[in-house]
Symmetry: C2
Subunit: 439 residues, 2 copies
Amino acid sequence: MKEALKLGVAGLGTVGRGVFKIISDQAADIRERTGREVTISAVCARDRSADRGIDVSGVEWFDDAAALATSDTVDIYVELIGGEEGIARASVEAALNAGKHVVTANKALLAVHGNELAALAEENGVALNFEAAVAGGIPIVKAVRESIMGNRIKHVFGIMNGTCNYILTTMEREGRSFEDVLSDAQDLGYAEADPTFDVGGFDTAHKLALLTSLAFGTQVSFKDIYIEGIEKVTAQDLASASDLGFKIKLLGVALDTGHGIEQRVHPTMVPADSPIADVHGVFNAVALRGDQVGDVMLEGRGAGEGPTATAVVADVLDIARGFIMPPFGRPTSSLVPYKRAGMRAHEGGYYIAMDVHDRPGAVAAIAQRMAEQQISLESIIQKPLMAGGREESVEKPDTMPVVLITHDTLEQSVKAALGQIEEDGHIARTPRMIRIEKL
Amino acid sequence: MKEALKLGVAGLGTVGRGVFKIISDQAADIRERTGREVTISAVCARDRSADRGIDVSGVEWFDDAAALATSDTVDIYVELIGGEEGIARASVEAALNAGKHVVTANKALLAVHGNELAALAEENGVALNFEAAVAGGIPIVKAVRESIMGNRIKHVFGIMNGTCNYILTTMEREGRSFEDVLSDAQDLGYAEADPTFDVGGFDTAHKLALLTSLAFGTQVSFKDIYIEGIEKVTAQDLASASDLGFKIKLLGVALDTGHGIEQRVHPTMVPADSPIADVHGVFNAVALRGDQVGDVMLEGRGAGEGPTATAVVADVLDIARGFIMPPFGRPTSSLVPYKRAGMRAHEGGYYIAMDVHDRPGAVAAIAQRMAEQQISLESIIQKPLMAGGREESVEKPDTMPVVLITHDTLEQSVKAALGQIEEDGHIARTPRMIRIEKL
């Protein structure tokens, strides 16, 4: 049998604890599968005395993650600290420079510094694996990097933030407002005290940046992602969507437009009978279309101790078996610069919800503005149908809710029309616009 | 760059053609990903002159697959002939004995001879990869073999035959009989002239046998699978299921009962709001539950040129990268003998549909027989609700349809009760029984 493979784990929060448990409990199975002993030789965490329900007595303790990362007693550095800068970045760089393999769950770090870190891993002939960074327990990194081969990928999209999906699912089911459900989610531990990172779409965008590179062979380019969160979605929008045969999901979408890759994160109306529409609660799902394989979707838990630890362990075992490949599936030098396809050119249908002042000619004037931008309307609903109990008081005494569904059109046309409609003074507040995707 | 990797492809039907196209069209991408040239050096097919829409002019032609499999010009033998015996088996054995890697889409061969062939591959230090054998373009073999690590798997189940799923989906949507929809499916090319292999559940069972070994580390044991096809499912059953909040799917299920692994293929009632219930038409899906990762489901196309060829190419590229592992994820010598958990002990709810003679006391007598076997009933429906146009003439003038839904009970109790009910003479023909799963 080969020499034992020694892990140094930095960060003993939820995921670190999960990794610790699996590596101890499943030692025999892991040895059988890989032909090697895999052990945790060193750990690093903030508080040495905290009770984590795991026995770290035989394990070397480091106070400094960078020292752990470069220690002679470590073959693989498992970075579970998080954050795009600071000690997480420094320790990963140190590990790669020291010729250590790295396994990380840190999407922010890779979304921002992925190109440089991947190049550094290759220079040093080591792995930089990150299955746990995208959609937790769903093996989507491996699927795109190793399974969907020989395909030109047309698009990849997904529900990659359980907090957002829980909030949207609950708002729809119970007809409650965003603020109300968010507050519950915070009490239940599904949302952070500062929820911006999740509900603002940033976490989804980090994951999307990595998926885009894997799927399209482009350099990671987080800064080019259009990001819109779920904060403005109302229970009325969800009810109207439902009446029209749609669900609203926060999607990360990367799509080959033929003249660049469009990357965007925003609330999206998807047909109620599409597989992604049925992904409820904290579950995640990632779907892609290849020119050969057609549509493939993977669904599962995107976060939590067991799912994320499972992904970390899978990455470790690939290394134990000697399966090392470039982080994004091809040499970093051959990743092509990301060429942004502008959102303004995005073509599709739109859902537009407005509070219109209740006076003669207002709706006609609005329809006229849309027509001037060559936007044709699939439907105008002046009194959106709403299931009992779902109504939300967005109406002011003198306004009525109007919902427009457009046929496929350009985003710039919609923005232009809405700008004029606001200027005309027929509506009480900024309209809400949700893109419709029939991917 | 390493030496070119040369494929010998036996069988140039739909899948072979697809593999040929991908290997030619995506040569540059494949070289970039693996650092190696991958080429098709030799082929073998029945008819040398057939027009397949691919250019085989530069490729060596063999009339004998076994000669191709052992040729010096071949590094990987790609077996796309099919069938559990004959030349498929002989050529795969010859290839492995000659130290050639094998990639195959042949589920029958592996379901029946998988243990011996896996051992042979290991003895010779070569790969025996079979992603294409289970659910076509869905990367479930890789997911179970490499991604769901460190988990005790509780169950794995799936819709793994597109023909059956197409038939059941269409029967439900259109309220038509099995025979009627099957005939259409044959005209559309979704079903074979002799459909027994698909609709009888045997194809699903072949795939299940492989999944079971991957998931539970047991020796392949196709012969121990309980198999029941979809031939007896009626449009009335589908309508009744729908009214009760269920869908009927042909599932292959492997489940750790704690005292052995239960393997079975049969029509199954699944809750309408479960992810597997939403898998429509020719799509396949495989779901599993791990003690760490929770529920994971993969959905996609289970057959056809592009999806199956994608899986074959992925297997080839793993070999090109030098990623070789035992066929079932662990050394064949450590696979434990399959210990059958008897179906008679299966515990769950049951749907039972009967044509009861319309005379006083018949239903009471039936209910009494169930009670004698300690079976408690969740509902008795004497006139199943059916949507307009869905009724099928299963009623005889003097009988009425009665549907029973039981609470969890043992299969042997249900069988005993139904035997007695038939003997009592209250029903016009053998009752239809469908197992309910809430996995």
